[in-house]
Symmetry: D2
Subunit: 429 residues, 4 copies
């Protein structure tokens, strides 16, 4: 990724409305990401779970065209009527759509045509953003921008997956973009929480996705949380102890998954003459022992916790902890990809809670009490996925900064691991 | 099923130890179930999820041989050393086992040989049961008997599945064995609960599976529960309203399941000239509008609740309700299969909570706070399945009576529906 | 298989019509085969390619009911109207049928009911056979009997496949039923044929299937044929030379098949402490080095020939050879299963051409010039299979004696090997 | 495809060696084909049977590098050592290779890098071609050029398949490139041949693939061949007569294929408001009734012949006919893609035998008598595919002109139809 990724300024010009400025910023950040991708890189779909970069670019644009422009502008003429079919993701109420596993067959439209599509929609959007919006409109646009930021992260993890399939192991970006080292020698400590009836969920300040609320009380037993995420060094021990061959450490589904796929290490790990290497956005790199382990499935996270004679935290435990203690992480100004400079080295601090790796929790993704999805197509945003997926918390090294917050609920199926996924241990107190 | 299913007496003779008496009773009940099955009926496996009746007969026996006799009797000679391999279900710590999808290839040993195997093990077990047991031994034997009762229910649902595949639609038993009509015209009412911090989980009185504890507090919001399970009549309306073709009513996973499998009605339903028929243990029967709907997946239960603009109860809501109000159902003396005679007809009563259909809840099957699986192989009993399955509560028309209790947690994957599964609506209060 | 397999007499009583006598004989032979099978043995389907014994018993009966009785007798009342659906194999023109992969789900009707079905149809058939038949009727009945004999062979190979899946490795028959040893030390010699324009195909004397004609001329180049089929001893050498790991010996399709299925030896072979054992109708037996190799696919036969720097014969070469030289084999009086006593030991004799193993040829199963399938449903008998299958010649140790003839064309897909299949080498002269 | 496809001159300059000239010409023709493809177009693999254009460009180059340069030049330094792995197709003796179904995951190397790879190899090859070659070397180079021409045809059919998957239905070339109309109203006549012992196979004049020989005699019965291939108009009648729903017209394998894939028309056909359209290299076009039908499987060709109460010709009949009568077709000077201007309109002429559509024959692809594959890796060229595939004769509208000859044997599996495949009827005389 070139330095062009950094927009000249993330600060909106004097008098420019905040939403307009945010719109410019988010859209530019997405385009900066693909600056070094070829048309071919942006076209191929490396597995059903992943999407081509081109598709991410177009789908996030379709979102604005479908939900904002078509709704707002009478007789709106779509940039290309076929894009409505091609770039709908999963909105059943919008209509038929190109099947997900066939997204990689679209060598046309080209990357340039998609960028022109973005430009055309941006022009209309920017015009609209200089006028007044109703609250509902503004909310939809804000949702669209947060949606686009989620796709920014997916775009990067999908490109990593694609490049990892290539025997040439190309590097996406020569620097950065990996969970960084917290401390040269992390010395984890256990931090205790008294539990009780505590409130979790979005508290109403700033943007949040619908699934982050309603804010509500839960009853927690006393518990403790580890100050650091699990590191690659700890994972070496897990492997060396034969954990991937010990049925008793695994959930039944997990053990079947290990056996059927011959799992022996985190995704992208490869042993070369006794040393572990890992495919990354920087290409093949030796696995750094002090970094948080990443690209593990929920099954692996759960087995590790059992092996360590601990457990995973629930999402309520995680959120309560981070709301009540100082926490560090890689959230940064300006953009996502730089490590936090001012690491504190004090005891009693939760380290690397944000912006390193998504942390698997023990919690299935379920509606909070009183949850009601929104009306219309955007009601499909989160609610319909509340089954068989597990919640992750915290945010990874490729998560946009503004998505780093205590109430954020990410979710994936237990076997998926192409995201930057890791874990932090918890235990009863 | 012949009347031989009814053991001459379920009451243990004077002076016979209770456990010995219980052993006789449970083992005889299993054998009574297969009295009218042919060797072929007992051999075929109709899908990977199901097991042959012969396998249920043998595996429940293997449980006693493996966990009780081999452990207790020095130099115990197994009845047949190959059975250790053939009839292990999923106990990784016991060793290799015959693969589950190949259970139906075992035309040998015959049903008679399996019954002889049971007799041989029973003889040794009965001898052992006349002597004193340690508490741990007694607990293991009690676990084995409860285990066998779970397989009694599976045996019946697996036979139903097998017979349903046969175009001849054979009847297993000419009478009984279906969720019975609660009231000729059920008039459901909504019953409110105040919520608050309430205790759920097994309270220590009598047998329970490990996953039913530890008893612990949870915080409930005020809620309401319907007095009756959803009936077939209500399901007709759901179908007629086009719900199986309305994407917006379904979870994303559920909609994919509906489309891939062409789901249009509950399992075993068949439309013949405008009337719905249903394969049952009594053969093909017209669907009775006043009976609880059954053989539905979690996806269908969830979609129904959304269509009805309600929701499913959590397992804690369900358990709290049943602990605090009079409840009726089909639990009976002597054996499982007779309806409760003394139905009350008062308001404020939860009807058909037990012994009609298993009720899908909104709760994923997760460990209760502080749950630790037992040591050794029996620790694999429940804990390793705590992922991607949903809890069902209440018990069905083929559930053994002694498994009917407030804390019982049954669990299946969201798409499974060959058990007697139904639902009851809940809502916020 | 009990000695009941041997009907008291294969000679028809004085004055009994030959076809009636043949009917009695063939039908009794089929039933004798299942005398030692349990209901369960006769019910299970061990793979899609195989059928349950019960199904073979019923389908061969259905053939007479459908094609003879229904056609001949006005208002014929079928024994059970549902059997028309259950026991049709592949006759599209007869109508819908129970799907092949679901044949093993029919625990009902029981083996006894199927035997009663046979008895009922036999009674009507025997009545009909005492009256005069038109030539067309007689031809259909003769076809039905030859059809049943083909199923006799399939019944035995399907049972072998089923028993081979069972870890208990049950024996079907304590004696016989394997390709026997020709000579304690077979000394194969090469026999030369001049080729030229030669006639092949059925010459009109006695019964033949439609695909055995029309008789026609083909032009053969000079060639030679080995006097003996390839033995297990030769196959040991093939294995020891690493042939199963040498891509260059295999057809492209064959190599893919080897890799995908991890093929390392003929079907049913198992290495135990350095010795090869083979599942057989007599149970597990050491592999006899002097017997013809069997249970190999066309891919393996072809690879062996390439390894031996020879080739497989075409079916025309095979047939021309056997029509022009003395040939020996296991065809016997009275029934199929005894070895030919009077083996000749002279040079220039083709040994074990008949009744040991089916010999894969180099010829795809294609219509002979001028071939026209019969009218009506029986026209589906062979013609529609003339694609992607290879011809085998000679007959195996479980082939009924009357199917042993020079023009007989058996056919299977190149990967199939659950029949008694072997090979004989050929070469250009 | 741009007009750049036409090299300035196909005639080699004075004094330039013929092979060198041929090399320039063939290589330039391949590159001209991709002139209008984007990097993305050239990267995507639309099904396992197809390969990306980039892969065709690289693999044909790898052929020269692997079999000519590495063999000839001591210490030859490959352009990129990883290409040996990436661009081997199926040569087991050369070593491991990138799995075929993953060819479409290689967004890198880019199209430009592949073109540079071609240039680098060409430079060395052209140097080598100005020096003297041994006969063996010259033969290998000629094989490489014919190999590349085969890939030219595959490249076009693979691009057509890719573009057909795209809802935008892009056109590859605005003109040409379809089987052209023979006559506005073709009036097919039947042409009789006496048969007898005739010679077929390559007669030694000019290049041929190994499988085209040895030339040998075959015995043909009297037969007749239709003067024209089957047209789209005839196919309309086949469809309208319900042939795709009539089991009795199909081979057993073919009927299963029809049912499993819901086949209702040739590949790429689509009905829009009562009119048939067809995706082509020119984009979506109405189906022209007078053109030969194309993109049909062997199963469809065979079913059509049965429906027409005729049959397909054997490859020997086809070759004998074309060697003994005037034949027309689209072979042209200069390049492949222009129709033959001087169509004759005389009776007794076999029309459109060459260069319109590949014609399915009734012949499985088998070795001719005496066939021996070459030594070394190139021996894998054809021989190992001689199983389960059917021979096609004649050449299509995208077949390079120099591949148009009487002895040429193309071959595909019976279900494949993404090539330009059609049929011509034959019958017994």
């Amino acid at each position: 990724m070139s330095s062009a990724l950094l927009p000249a300024s993330a600060v909106h010009p004097p008098h420019e409305p905040a939403l307009l400025s945010q719109y410019r910023h988010v859209r530019a950040a997405t385009e900066a990401m693909v600056a070094d991708l070829t048309d071919a890189d942006a076209t191929v779909q490396s597995m059903d779970d992943a999407s081509p970069a081109k598709w991410h670019l177009a789908h996030t644009t379709w979102f604005f065209e479908e939900f904002v422009l078509t709704a707002r502008i009478p007789d709106y003429e779509p940039v290309d009527p076929q894009y409505r079919y091609l770039f709908n993701s999963y909105y059943e109420s919008v209509g038929a759509r190109h099947p997900r596993p066939r997204r990689g067959l679209l060598s046309r439209p080209s990357l340039d045509e998609i960028l022109a599509y973005r430009e055309a929609v941006d022009e209309t959007m920017l015009g609209l953003l200089t006028t007044a919006q109703t609250d509902a409109e503004a909310a939809l646009i804000e949702l669209g921008l947060n949606h686009e930021q989620q796709h920014q992260e997916l775009l990067l993890t999908d490109i990593l997956h694609l490049f990892a399939q290539n025997p040439l192991k190309p590097a996406f970006a020569p620097e950065l973009l990996a969970p960084v080292i917290a401390d040269p020698r992390p010395a984890p400590e256990w931090i205790r929480f008294a539990g009780g009836v505590v409130a979790i969920g979005h508290d109403g300040d700033g943007f949040a996705f619908d699934c982050e609320g309603p804010r509500h009380n839960v009853l927690l037993q006393p518990y403790q949380l580890c100050s650091h995420p699990v590191t690659n060094h700890q994972w070496f021990e897990f492997i060396e102890d034969g954990a991937y061959r010990t049925a008793g450490l695994w959930l039944s589904d997990g053990w079947r998954w290990v056996c059927e796929h011959g799992i022996e290490a985190p995704l992208y790990w490869e042993e070369r003459e006794g040393t572990w290497w890992q495919m990354s956005l920087r290409g093949m790199q030796p696995v750094d022992p002090d970094s948080p382990v990443t690209h593990i499935s929920f099954y692996e996270a759960d087995a590790f916790a059992r092996w360590a004679e601990r457990r995973l935290p629930t999402e309520a435990e995680w959120e309560h902890a981070v709301r009540n203690l100082p926490a560090t992480g890689n959230f940064v100004e300006g953009r996502v990809l730089r490590p936090l400079p001012d690491r504190q080295n004090t005891a009693g601090v939760l380290r690397q809670m944000f912006g390193d790796v998504w942390e698997w929790t023990a919690s299935p993704f379920q509606p909070y009490p009183g949850f009601r999805p929104g009306a219309g197509a955007v009601g499909e945003y989160n609610g319909k996925f509340m089954c068989s997926q597990m919640v992750l918390r915290g945010g990874s090294c490729v998560t946009p900064e503004s998505h780093i917050r205590a109430s954020y609920r990410n979710f994936f199926y237990p076997h998926q691991r192409w995201q930057f996924t890791g874990l932090r241990l918890a235990d009863d107190a």
